[in-house]
Amino acid sequence: MADVLLSVKGLTRRFDVSKPWLNRVIEREDRQFLTANDDVSFEIRKGETFALVGESGSGKSTIAKMIVGLLEPSAGEIRFDGQAMDFNSGAAMRKLRRRFQMIFQDPFASLNPRWRVGDIIAEPIHTFGLLTGAAVRQEVGRLLEVVGLSAADAAKFPHEFSGGQRQRIAIARALSSRPEFIVCDEPTSALDVSVQAQILNLMRDLQDEFGLTYLLISHDLSVVRHMSNRIGVLYLGRLVEIADAKQLFVEPQHPYTRMLLDAVPDLALSGRRRTPVTGEIPNPINPPPGCAFHPRCPHVMDICRQVVPAPMTTTSGQAACHLLTQDDRMQAREPVA
């Protein structure tokens, strides 16, 4: 198996969403917690694109923020290239920080509007002390050209660019610390499809050229299928399935994955028969017990309402569903170590 670059084990993040103390006393309410991620584990191999898909609120961005150190996990461990990320050790984190970067959904919000593009891109170079003097400007010009803009654009401000161009600037900035790993949180969701195609193609080219590893986060299954090697499917903060990208679409193992695939409009006009999707995502503050998907699942069994299913090995990866152990028609499965 290829080398693991990033591994996440038992990652959990809770948010305190309680009302203010006085309200709680008056209304006799307990503290309330929202579990944005619950016991999430996966590995990303060097040079691959690993994708996380899920509907809104499933916890994609929360995972991304914990990985890049913008948010502290409530429990669990993140290891980068074998080293545990320690949020309390400034020096050790700084060394690791250079090696990974992040691209966000909204290229407007993520670029400081008062800075010139050149300064935006050069910031990581200064922060990590990679270059000095004229070499910085030269490097910025080179990066702009790498992402399909021109060196002269360094003197302009973000508002002078279209959404797609701004995302190119964000990518140039991410590349400037020469990272190995880039977390891309919905990098094209704010863009039109024709511009999205430009950015996705660019991301692929850069991956080939610089041997980058990506964590790609998206709610768009077609984008994820097009871009990634392996895919993790999130539902209400838990990973329900991890599978080889192409296999996931041929043989989805988890009922939620199947439902999600059935919901994607079919551009190919194949007339494929689809099971109608039912229900909506429940409130994450009090998620259903057992398998969180059980109120919407067409295969629900008694055990599903009580026991959280553990991930089991499947032919294409792993899935967390009681069907995999209960259904005789399925081959015997091994629990994931």
Binding site: Q165, A197, S222, A263, P265, A268, V277
Partner: protein
């Protein structure tokens, strides 16, 4: 040919600004037949919403219709007095917007809003209106409709709210429903449900639909015909299957190639270079010419008009100029 339900002819919408007049829609023409679902796609800023707003008489000033005509079942509606147009809106044309909260009043229960709409347009008793409202809510898939009808909009989830809006749009039994990005704010699993409901109910009641969206997949599954807008002009319009599987206008061809699908195998997506021009910088001739791989000299000078093609399709591109094809032939 029977008279179309809606006919839009050479519609021009302009915004006067300090630096000159911006032309946001430029001679847009299309028909919607009785019972038909017409999809309208285009990138953001192409003019989709403005087309819808112009039809229902809700252009926000200083935006105005600067040319063309809009006909609803043989009656011209683009120059009606405000009060007359208001009666058409809601009664004959229903509306569904991206954000359900723009159509719902947070201060009134769903029951109050639905019965009020029904009774404004149809002469029925309060009791009968409530009965109809419950039936409608039930039909759009609100569980326990007879109880939930007395809830306020904020008691519903996003998907449920959009169902309520669909009920509201259909309450007065309109002939046409204009839905502007009705599912864009929703998750995929909810989007599919909403689209199904919208499509089924309109079909049941014989209402035509103008479905505005940037999502070609939604169009593929829902529309009978599709109109492709680019920079305020129609690039191509025709039966959904033809346009999706064998696009003719170079912009549509590029657009289709740039969409990743669940079945494609290509490593790279087709990409159209550049981006759609802003309104103050629309190129002369064909608006798509700076991005077009098949551009010819004449494309930079003369604007191609929408012209009929075989199979009921229309395309505005000089590649399909009959005079030229004849000369080439």
């Amino acid at each position: 040919m029977p008279e179309p339900l809606l006919s839009v002819r050479d519609l021009v919408v302009e915004f006067p600004t300090r630096r000159g007049v911006l032309r946001a829609l430029d001679k847009v023409s299309f028909d919607i037949a009785e019972g038909e679902v017409l999809g309208m796609v285009g990138e953001s800023g192409a003019g989709k919403s403005l087309t819808g707003a112009a039809i229902i008489g809700l252009l926000e000033p200083p935006g105005r219709i600067a040319g063309g005509e809009i006909w609803l079942r043989g009656e011209r509606i683009d120059n009606l007095a405000r009060e007359k147009m208001r009666r058409i809106r809601g009664r004959r044309i229903g509306m569904v917007f991206q954000d359900p909260l723009t159509s719902l009043n947070p201060l009134y229960t769903v029951a109050e809003q639905l019965t009020e709409t029904i009774r404004t347009h149809i002469d029925v008793s309060e009791k009968e209106a409530r009965k109809r409202a419950i039936a409608l809510l039930d039909r759009v898939g609100i569980p326990a409709a007879s109880r939930r009808i007395d809830d306020y909009p904020h008691h519903f989830s996003g998907g449920m709210r959009q169902r309520v809006v669909i009920a509201l749009a259909l309450a007065a039994e309109p002939e046409l429903v204009i839905a502007d990005e009705p599912t864009t704010a929703l998750d995929v699993s909810v989007q599919a449900q909403i689209i199904d409901v919208l499509k089924e109910i309109c079909a049941e009641r014989g209402a035509s639909v103008m479905l505005i969206t940037h999502d070609m997949g939604v169009i593929a599954e829902t529309a009978d015909r599709v109109a492709v807008l680019y920079a305020g002009r129609l690039a191509e319009i025709g039966p959904v299957r033809d346009v999706i599987q064998a696009a003719e206008h170079p912009y549509t061809v590029g657009l289709m190639g740039s969409i990743p699908t669940l079945t494609q195998t290509a490593d790279r997506l087709t990409q159209i270079p550049g981006a759609m021009p802003r309104l103050n910088a629309i190129p002369t001739g064909c608006a798509f010419n700076p991005r077009c791989t098949r551009v010819m000299d004449r494309c930079r000078i003369d604007r191609p008009e929408l012209a009929a093609r075989p199979g009921g399709r229309q395309v505005s591109c000089w590649l399909y100029d009959t005079a030229m094809e004849a000369a080439d032939g």
